[in-house]
C-alpha cells in the first residue's frame, strides 16, 4: 500500500467539515487511493468504539459563589439588622430622641426618664403639666429578648440543616474514596505478586539470584524479624 500525504484532508473529510466542492474532490481521491480508503474505514471503526464510553450520571456541581463575593459595610449592616430586628427600631428611636431633645430644648421643656417612667414637663405654657407616658422598661426588655431568642433559634436550625447536608456529602465522598483506595491496593498487591512470580520464573530458567526476597511482597517485614521475645 503506497503512502499518501493527504492526512489533513482525510481528517477534515472524516469529521464532515469540508465544503461540498472539497468533499466531492476528496471522494474522487478515495476511489483511486487505497491507502486513504483503508485508513478512513479504520478510523471510522475507532470512532464507533470511542462512542462506547458514555457519560453516566453527573454529580450536581456546587459552586460556592458566596465565598467569592466581597461584602460592603452597608451589606454587613443590613445583615446585622436582619439578625437583630430590634436594632433597627433602636436606631430609628435614637434618631427620634435626638430630634425630640432638640425641639424640647428650644421649647424649654424638661424631660425626665427615671424609675417612675417617662415624664415631660412643658415649660412653654408656664404651668407645670406632667404627662406620665409610663413605658414599662421591663416590658421593652422582654420584647427585645423574645425577638432575639426567636431569631437565634431560627438561625440555629438553619445552621444545623446546613451541617447535616455537608456531613452527608462528606461521608458519601469518603465512601467512594475508600472503595477506590481498596481497589488500587488490591491491584497493587496483584502487581507485586505477578512481579514476584516473574522473578521466580527467571530465577528458575536462568539461575539468577536476586538480592531481594521475592516473597517479601510488602516490603516492610524482613526474614530476620523476630516474632516476639
Amino acid at each position: 500500500m503506497k503512502h499518501c500525504d493527504r492526512k489533513e484532508d482525510l481528517i477534515t473529510y472524516l469529521y464532515g467539515e469540508m465544503d461540498a466542492e472539497q468533499e466531492r474532490a476528496f471522494r474522487r481521491h478515495l476511489l483511486s487511493c487505497s491507502s486513504c480508503r483503508v485508513e478512513e474505514a479504520s478510523f471510522r471503526a475507532v470512532r464507533t468504539s470511542l462512542q462506547s464510553w458514555q457519560l453516566g450520571d453527573v454529580p450536581q456541581i456546587v459552586v460556592p459563589l458566596e465565598a467569592t463575593k466581597r461584602k460592603s459595610i452597608a451589606e454587613y449592616l443590613e445583615e446585622m439588622l436582619a439578625v437583630f430586628p430590634m436594632l433597627r427600631y433602636a436606631a430609628v428611636s435614637a434618631v427620634a430622641c435626638l430630634v425630640m431633645l432638640t425641639v424640647a430644648a428650644a421649647l424649654n421643656t424638661e424631660i425626665r426618664y427615671d424609675a417612675t417612667g417617662f415624664s415631660v414637663k412643658l415649660g412653654l405654657f408656664n404651668k407645670v403639666e406632667t404627662a406620665a407616658l409610663s413605658v414599662d422598661e421591663q416590658q421593652v426588655k422582654a420584647l427585645i429578648e423574645a425577638a432575639v431568642r426567636e431569631r437565634e433559634a431560627q438561625l440555629r436550625q438553619e445552621i444545623e440543616v446546613k451541617i447535616a447536608l455537608l456531613d452527608k456529602e462528606l461521608s458519601e465522598k469518603n465512601a467512594t474514596l475508600l472503595s477506590k483506595a481498596a481497589r488500587e491496593l488490591k491491584l497493587e498487591q496483584r502487581l507485586r505478586l505477578q512481579r514476584a512470580l516473574m522473578k521466580l520464573e527467571q530465577e528458575r530458567n536462568y539461575g539468577i539470584r536476586f538480592e531481594q526476597d521475592p516473597f517479601n511482597l510488602w516490603g516492610g517485614v524482613s526474614k530476620s524479624t523476630s516474632w516476639g521475645d
Partner: protein
C-alpha cells in the same frame, strides 16, 4: 424564554447572581465530561468543574464576547486540567500500568452477552484513551465527545487548526493500534 449564554453573562455582570446558576446548570455536564475524559478520575473531574465555574465567575468581567462563552469556559477548564496533570506528574494510575504490563484479561466475545461486551469495550476504550499522550487525548475528547469544530478546538487550545488535525490524526492512529488486538473493538 431561553436566554443565550451571552445574555446571561450580561445579567450576572449587572448583579443577577441567579443567572450564573443557569449557566452552571447549562454547562456543568459538558465541562465535567471534558475533565473526566481528559483526567480519567471522577474526583479530579469534579474539582476541575467546580474550579472552572468559580474562575469564570470571578473573571466574568474579562469575558469580552469575542469568542463564544462556551469556548471561553472550555479554555478555563483545559487550563485547570493542565494544572491537575502537572501536579499528578506523568505517573500513570495503577489501572494504566496494568494495561501496559499486559495483564488485560483477553476478551472472548463468544462468552459475553451484549451488555457485558459493551461495558467491557467501554473500559478498554477508556484505558486506551488514557494511555495516549495528553495533547492527543484532549483533541480527541473535544472532537468526539464535545462535538467541537476544528476552529473552536484551535481557539480553545491556542494552536493552529492544522496542528489540531495532525494531533487528531496521530491520536486516532495510536488508538487504532491499541485497539487492534481486541476482538470486537474494531
Amino acid at each position: 424564554m431561553q436566554f443565550s449564554d451571552e445574555e446571561l453573562v450580561e445579567k450576572v455582570l449587572k448583579g443577577e447572581q441567579r443567572a450564573f446558576e443557569v449557566l452552571v446548570n447549562r454547562w456543568q455536564r459538558q465541562i465535567y465530561g471534558l475533565a473526566l475524559r481528559i483526567l480519567g478520575r471522577e474526583d479530579d473531574a469534579y474539582d476541575v468543574c467546580q474550579e472552572t465555574f468559580l474562575l469564570a465567575y470571578r473573571n466574568l468581567s474579562k469575558f469580552r464576547g469575542e469568542a463564544k462563552f462556551s469556548s471561553w469556559l472550555y479554555r478555563i477548564a483545559i487550563n485547570c486540567c493542565h494544572t491537575v496533570m502537572r501536579t499528578r506528574g506523568n505517573n500513570l494510575s495503577l489501572e494504566c500500568q496494568r494495561e501496559e504490563v499486559g495483564y488485560e484479561p483477553s476478551v472472548e466475545s463468544d462468552f459475553l452477552d451484549e451488555a457485558m461486551q459493551k461495558a467491557q469495550l467501554s473500559k478498554i476504550v477508556r484505558r486506551a484513551l488514557m494511555g495516549l499522550p495528553a495533547e492527543m487525548r484532549e483533541v480527541i475528547v473535544m472532537k468526539e465527545y464535545q462535538q467541537m469544530k476544528f476552529h473552536e478546538i484551535a481557539e480553545v487550545l491556542g494552536i493552529p487548526v492544522s496542528t489540531v488535525k495532525t494531533r487528531l490524526y496521530t491520536g486516532l492512529e495510536q488508538l487504532r493500534q491499541r485497539l487492534s488486538h481486541i476482538k470486537g473493538a474494531l
